[in-house]
């Protein structure tokens, strides 16, 4: 009764969760293309695509993809052999357990001739399955702990995934082991199949029972409250009784269940205490509850990838001018891709700009985390400013090199998702950080920017002394305003009235720096329209590092954006200002 209630509840939650996830594939809007599509259009788009694929030669590619990448997981093998072994062990072991064990009563029993869970080879295969999953989990834990970078990217959801599988398998092994040693189970079986009045406590009065018990003690690993002295006569008789009551027809010797049998031998000294304390019941509850929790939570955990990733892989097959390339289907694919990620973090380990995470501790830089940010952003139309600034920083530090897409074992077009992040950010008014820094600097100059006379900026001296990279602070003071830098600047040469368009020109910036005019310098368009061609620096007769100084000034302006972002985040979380988060400060200490 309890079992059935929990079973149906978890099954209901599971199916509701799956439906909810699938629904989101048609409703989530990722990027500009999705905002032009209706849910109805997306559903019919997929239907068209599926029909087209089924009745064209595309089906050949889909079948090929199924074997190569879903079953054999070539994309994982291509990336890393250890990871492939790990994943194949869990995948194949789990499939074996699923078909031979999880659904055995309902499905395997009628299908497989002579199937009996307590007979070989099923007894043995079940342990093989468990062993494979455990070995795979072992490799997974080892990789997560030892691989630089991967360890940092292991979160609760990854730990949960490993833990729930481990609990299910280990509790299953313990349940089987506690059944092997259980004299209580022996007694119940004897009562059911031999005689309802049998009590193992009466063994001394019943030589036939004694023989059977001796036989099971020696051959099946049962641990009785009192050890029975086996002799060859008793054992021979016991073997006959074993056959006579048909015990042997349903029970292979448990040695084949090598994991459980090994465990049962290890616990045999305390086996009686365990049996008396109800270990079987306990492990039964743990095993079934863990399994049901795993089932109910599956659509909400990263295990959902067992459905979403194969679907994504199969949907990836190029359909050329076919309905697969319809804008509606692109919108659906993108939404589905958000679910197909299993957070293996391979993209982050291979990311071209991944190392920048070491110097700017913003997880949005890393593709494996960025996909979560995108999901977060798609689900929440109103995110706080600091959150959007953080996501924007990550979205634009990306160099669009497409490597993440190339290495993703789930076949997710990650690069395309990053373009859609930029579209989403632009939709909410968050441009790339460079432009963000420029806008902030221009806005902060305020009305003063138009004044012909420049008020002395209070933080000028501090900033001047802060320009440390290369020998910069000591070089711009050498400027004697000869204007060579401005005269060779190709940007200045683009305008008839450059001062009006660009604010301070290069020579004026260098000169103003000497006075420490921070805001005026940062709010000059010139600073932001610099092409970094180094013509000015090359031509300067005073060896002023003009271009390098301009670079560093942009750093200073961007640092303002980051500090503001950190301050806002600190206010939201109620913690103090996290200046440490800003690496541009710490590098000077």
């Amino acid at each position: 009764m309890f079992y059935d209630v929990v079973y149906y509840i978890s099954l209901t939650v599971f199916f509701a969760g799956v439906l909810w996830r699938i629904r989101s594939w048609f409703t989530r809007r990722v990027g500009d293309v999705a905002h032009e599509q209706t849910t109805f259009g997306r559903v019919t788009g997929v239907a068209k695509s599926v029909v087209f694929t089924l009745f064209s030669k595309q089906i050949v590619y889909v079948i090929r993809e199924f074997f190569v990448n879903v079953m054999m997981q070539y994309k994982i093998l291509r990336e890393n052999t250890a990871r492939w072994i790990m994943h194949m062990l869990v995948f194949a072991g789990f499939l074996l357990l699923f078909f031979l064990h999880v659904i055995d009563d309902t499905y395997s029993h009628p299908w497989i001739d002579g199937y009996f869970s307590t007979l070989n080879p099923w007894l043995f295969l079940r342990n093989i399955g468990a062993f494979m999953v455990l070995a795979g989990l072992g490799i997974a834990v080892y990789r997560r702990l030892t691989i630089q970078g991967l360890r940092k990217l292991t979160y609760a959801m990854d730990r949960y995934a490993i833990a729930i599988l481990a609990i299910i398998i280990v509790s299953g092994v313990l349940l089987e082991a506690s059944k092997i040693v259980s004299h209580r189970t022996f007694e119940e079986m004897a009562q059911t199949y031999a005689h309802p009045d049998i009590r193992i406590a009466d063994w001394e009065d019943d030589p036939e029972l004694e023989a059977l018990m001796a036989y099971w003690q020696e051959n099946y690993g049962v641990v009785f409250p009192e050890r029975i002295e086996p002799d060859s006569e008793k054992l021979e008789w016991g073997a006959e009784v074993n056959d006579a009551f048909a015990c042997s027809m349903c029970h292979s010797r448990p040695q084949a269940a090598f994991l459980s049998y090994g465990t049962s031998r290890a616990v045999s000294p305390v086996a009686n205490a365990m049996t008396n304390a109800g270990a079987e019941t306990f492990f039964w509850y743990v095993h079934f509850l863990a399994s049901f929790i795993g089932l109910a939570y599956l659509p909400f955990s990263k295990f959902f990838h067992i459905f979403s990733t194969p679907i994504r892989l199969l949907a990836k097959v190029k359909t050329g001018s076919a309905p697969g390339s319809l804008p509606a289907n692109i919108a659906t694919l993108r939404a589905m891709e958000l679910d197909a990620c299993m957070h293996c973090a391979n993209c982050s380990l291979r990311c071209s700009v991944g190392p920048i995470f070491e110097t700017i501790p913003n997880q949005a830089i890393l593709p494996s985390e960025k996909i979560g940010d995108l999901k977060h952003m798609v689900l929440n139309q109103s995110l706080p400013t600091e959150e959007l600034l953080r996501i924007a920083e990550g979205a634009w530090i990306c160099t669009s090199c497409h490597r993440c897409t190339d290495v993703c074992p789930a076949g997710i077009n990650l690069q395309d998702l990053w373009f859609s992040i930029r579209e989403e950010l632009a939709r909410r008014g968050y441009p790339e950080p460079y432009v963000q820094a420029m806008k902030k600097a221009l806005a902060e100059a305020g009305p003063d920017a138009d004044l012909p006379l420049i008020p002395h900026s209070p933080h000028g001296k501090e900033m001047k002394e802060g320009l440390l990279l290369s020998e910069q602070a000591s070089t711009f003071t050498n400027c004697y305003n000869c204007m060579t830098c401005t005269n060779v600047c190709p940007v200045v040469a683009c305008y008839d009235k450059p001062s009006r368009e660009l604010g301070f020109l290069p020579n004026q910036i260098m000169h103003a720096l000497g006075f420490g005019f921070r805001d005026q310098v940062l709010s000059s368009r010139m600073l932001w329209d610099c092409v970094t061609c180094y013509a000015c620096q090359e031509a300067c007769p005073q060896n002023v590092r003009v271009t390098d100084v301009l670079y560093e000034l942009r750093n200073v302006a961007y640092q303002d954006v980051r500090l503001e972002m950190n301050d806002m985040a600190a206010k939201t979380t109620g913690e103090g200002p996290q200046t440490k988060e800003c690496p541009m400060d710490s590098r000077r200490t």
Binding site: Q148, R350, C351, S352, V353, G354, P355, I356, E358, T359, I360, E393, I397, T399, S400, C401, H402, R403, Q415, E432, P433, Y434, V435, A437, M438, L469, S470, P490, V491, C494, W528, D529, V531, T532, C533, Y534, A535, Q537, E538, R545, T547, Y551, E552, R554, N555, Y558, Q559, P583, M584, R587
Partner: protein
Amino acid sequence: MKYAFFAGCKIPYYVPQYEIATRMVFSALDIGLTDVEFNCCGYPVRNLDFYSYLYSAARNLALAEKSASGLVTPCKCCYGSLRHAAYMLSERTDLKDRINSQLAPLELKYTGTLEIRHILQVLFHDVGLEAIKARVKNPLDAPRVAVHYGCHALRPSRITDFDDPDNPTIFDRLVEATGAVSVKWPMRLDCCGNPLWQKNDRLSRFLASKKITSALDAGAEYICVSCTYCQIQFDQVQQAMLEAGDIETPLPSILYPQLLGLSMGFSSKRLGLDTHHLNASSVALPRKKEEDVRSVSESA
């Protein structure tokens, strides 16, 4: 010398023909290349955070030091960025120590022994003009080419040490070795405008259009580049500019290894010339003799 090949972020996806052509030419000239999985050179993040740039660059240099004595890149922005980082790390031991301590968990260390080269330097200095000319089996029929030097290799010269910053010649001489004619044009040392792409697109295009006009006025038929970003600017962006009517006459862009490859006898298809946005394949064709041109115009 054996070089680690630094393709940079943009080549594999946006300009794959550049890498293909470079490898073809290098392999024909027996220049050994090693493949290392590098990260971004740091150039794009330099506007935001110098230290992040320096760390990214240094990580690459340390990776390269592990497997080769030199690093060669076809991209001038990567070249400038890596050279600048190497310079900074030699000047500033505090930064070098800090970066090395951050690289230590990765079992990486930058010592400063690495030779950082651009492909043109390797061709000019390691192989040499004479050896290149000896391999030119199929000299081009004097197409008029505007050589675009590229800022980040040329300047700041005391760091990049590429060529004379005021009067550079190696690129012109390499181009002429293929049979092409390097035209004299006033804006050859100016910026292509790409660094401002997505920051100020209007200005970025305007700078490119000035250069294109200048080269066309000097009689150029093609522009020859040897930088990933310059190629993107003069190919992809130029096409967009033509479509938008910013400029009227196209100036197809060709990558130097393609030009050299053609003169060494590789087909324009293998060199990826047909993959450009603006078709530059005609550079390989024999030119019409002046009489033919006259007869065509007369008959018309």
